[in-house]
Subunit: 465 residues, 2 copies
Amino acid sequence: MFRTLLTAAAVSALLAGTAFAQDAKIAEGLRDKALRDHLAWDITEDLTTSIGPRLVGSPAMEKAKDWGVAKFKALGFTNIKVEEFAKPSWTRGEESAWLMAPYEMNLNPVGLGRTISTPAGGVEAEVALFKTYAEMIAAPEGALKGKIVVITQPMVMAQDGAGYGVAGISRRAGPVEAAKRGAVAMLIRSISTSDSSVPHTGSTANGEGVVTIPAAAIGVPEAEQLERLAAKGPLRIKLNLQSSFDAKDVAWNISGDIQGSEKPDEVIVIGGHLDSWDVGTGALDDATGIAITTAAAKLIGDLPKHPKRTLRVVMWGSEESGGSSEAYLAAHKDALGKIVLAGESDSGADRIYSLQVPAGSLEHPVIKTATRVLMPLKIYLDRAPAAHGGADIGAIEEAGVPVINLNQDASRYFDYHHTMDDTLNKVDPIQLAQNVAAWTSFLYLVADSDIDFRALKPAAPAAAH
Amino acid sequence: MFRTLLTAAAVSALLAGTAFAQDAKIAEGLRDKALRDHLAWDITEDLTTSIGPRLVGSPAMEKAKDWGVAKFKALGFTNIKVEEFAKPSWTRGEESAWLMAPYEMNLNPVGLGRTISTPAGGVEAEVALFKTYAEMIAAPEGALKGKIVVITQPMVMAQDGAGYGVAGISRRAGPVEAAKRGAVAMLIRSISTSDSSVPHTGSTANGEGVVTIPAAAIGVPEAEQLERLAAKGPLRIKLNLQSSFDAKDVAWNISGDIQGSEKPDEVIVIGGHLDSWDVGTGALDDATGIAITTAAAKLIGDLPKHPKRTLRVVMWGSEESGGSSEAYLAAHKDALGKIVLAGESDSGADRIYSLQVPAGSLEHPVIKTATRVLMPLKIYLDRAPAAHGGADIGAIEEAGVPVINLNQDASRYFDYHHTMDDTLNKVDPIQLAQNVAAWTSFLYLVADSDIDFRALKPAAPAAAH
C-alpha cells in the first residue's frame, strides 16, 4: 500500500530532497571554511600593493591585466581569456584651485573623471553657487553666464547606497547642463557621505557631440566654507584642470573558469572590476570585488568534485570609464542563453545583509536552501526581485541574463570610494570573509543545481487597454 | 553659651561659607547659561570662515589680528592690547612626491612646518625605511647616507593625547638626526590617529645653527603602502618641497580684559592661539580655544557685578611656529607676581573630562566648590597637580605662574589637527558648549575669591644628603 503511493513525482521529489540536503551540507562547509580563509584578503593586499591605482590606459592597468591572468593560473582556473576592446583613455594632469575673493585660499580639487581641461593656466570667474542641482536647473536665464558654477548638494548616507544616485546627478549631468547655460567651469561638493576634505572623483558625461565644461569636485568642508562665504558676498574662484585623452586606447575583460562537472556549458558569470580611479589604490572599488568572487570560485574549485555548472569569474576591465559591460555583450552575444545567472561584487567589502534573486524564483527549493545556509551570516532574503546586478553585467542583464544581488552594507562605502582614501586600511577582514562565505555557499548551491531562472520568470502582465 | 563659642575664626568661616554658597550659585547659573549659549560657536564660525587659515606671516594672520581687536571691542572687553614681537615666518610653496620604483605612484605629502626646501625640481633617492624612530637611531653607520629616510611609526590614540609626544619625535627631531647620519630628505608617517590619507604638518626643528634636511609627512595609508612595498624590495622616491623664510617678520599677542571689581590688579590669564597652520582653517587648532575662553570671559563680564579679580583673555599670536609664550614673558616679567593663575584651551573642542589644579590647592574651599559645580558637566577633579598648562603659557608657568588644566578629550583631536581637515564641520557644538560652561563656572569661582595658589604650594622636599 505504502509503495503504491510512491508516484514517480514523489520519488523524484524525495531524491531531489536528498540531493538538496547533501548540497546544503557542502554549502555550509564551504561557508564555514570561507569565514576562516584569507585568500580574499591576500588578493586585495596584493592587487592594491603590487599594482596600486589602475586607471584605464595607464601602465598600471596593463600590469593589472597580466596580474589577473597570473592570478587565475596560480589558483587553478581554466579557459583563461583576455578579451580586448577599444576604450579611449583619459589621463589626469596638473590640477589646482584657489578662492580668489573675498580672500585667497588654496582649495583642493580633484578633476571629475574624463573632464575636459581648462585653458592653460586656468580660468578665473565669479561664482554662481547653488545648494542643489535642481536650484541650478531652475536658475533664471543668464544667471550662469560666464560663471564658475558651484553645487553644494550633500549626499545622504544609506545602507543600500541609494543616496548615490540622487546626489550623483550633479557630477554626471551637472557640467553639461551648466555648459548649456553658459557657465565656464564647475565645482561640485564631493558625492560623499563623509565629513572629510578629501575630494571624490568619478565619471562625468563626456564624449562625441557632448558640449561640456571643465569640472572638479572639492571636499565637503571646502564646499561648506564656500556656502557660508557666498551668504556674505560674491566669490571668485580660479580653477586649473589639465588632462589628456587617447582616443585609440584599449582595455581588457579577463576571465577564468572553474569548469562544471556535468553541464560545463551552463555558465554562472560573477566578478568585480579590475580598473580603478587614479587616486587611492582602488581597494574597496573594486579590488575587494575581484577578491571576493575569485576567492569564492577558488574555494569551490578546491572541492573533490566541481559542481555541475561552470563558474566564470570576470575581472572587468573598464567599469569606472565604462565599456566593459557592452564589450562582454558584444563578444558573447551568441552564448548568452548559456549564462544561467550573473552577479557582481562592487560596493566595497562591508557585510552582505540581503540576497535578491530573479523574479519567480523565491519559492524554488534551491533558493529556500540558500536562504537557510545564508541565515547564520545574517543575510535575509529580500522578496523584491534582483535588478541592476552591477554596472559590468548591465548589458547582458538587459539582454536577458538573470541576475542576483548580494547586497553589501554601503553605509561606509561612499565615505571612501573614488578618493585617495580608497586604500587597504579601509577593508575590514572580518566583513570581507563574510562576503566570501556568502558568495561561496550561494554559488555552490546554484551551480550544482538545475534551477532555470528564465523558466521561472513570471509572464509579463497583459497590456492594459 | 552658644554665642561665646563663636570665635573670630568661626565667624570668618561662616561668612566665607555664605560667600562660597553665593558664588557657587552664581557659578552654577553661569554654567547652565553657557550650556545654552552659542557665542563660542559664532566666534569659531566667524574666525574660520571670514579669515580662514592663519599662518604666522600671512596676510590672513594680519587680518586675524584686526579681527581679534574688533571682537574684544564688540564684546565689551577693556584694556585691549596688541603686543608685537619679532617672529621669522615661513611660507609653503610647491610640494609634490612620487614613488618612482618599484612603480610610479603619486604621493600626497605636506611639508613639515619650517622645513627647508629641496633643490629646485626635487631630490630623488633610494629609500631607507624604518618602522620606528628608535630603529632609525639604532641603524648601523652609513645606512642612511644619501637616502630618503621614511619613518612609519604610528601614533597611539589616547584620551589625554599622550600618544602625541611619543610619536611626535619623528617630526620634531627626525630630520635633524637623519641629517647627522647623511640622509638627503625625510618622509614621516603623519603624526595622526586617523586612517585617513590626509597628511599632518607641524613644526620641525629648524633655526640658527641647526643642520637639517627637507622633510614632509604623508598620510597613513601611503605610509602603510610604503611599508608593505619595502618588505618586497627597494624603493625610490622623488620629493620636491619649496618654501621661503622671512627673517624680519612679526607676530602679535592680543589681549582684552574683563576688569576685576575689587582687585583689578590681580589677573587670571586665559586664552587660545589665533595663529594656525596654512592647511584647513584652524578650527579645532585653535579657533575653538579662542572661542571657549573669550565666550567664558564675556559671560562673566555680562554679570551685574564683575568678580573681584581681572580676567584677561590672550589670543596668542604664534603657537604653531613658537614664540608667543616667550614674548609674553618678556613683556610682562615685572608683573608676573600679579598673575594669580593661567590656563589655555588648545586641544580641540571635545568635552572636558577633568580638572587639574596647582599643587597644594586640592583641599581649598574654592576648589571643592568648583569640583561640585563641575560635576554635572561630568568633570572630575584629578588629584595630580596641573602642569604644562599649554604651550603659550609655558614660559610664564616656568617663571612661577600657577596654572590649571581643564583637560579635553583629545581622542579625536589628532585625527584632524594640522591637516586640511581641521575645519568647522569637525566641531561638535554640544561639546563646545560644555567647554564654555566649565571654563565660565571655574573662572568665576577663582576670580571672585582670594585663593593664593602660590601660598598653597607645598614646600619642596629638602635635598637628600
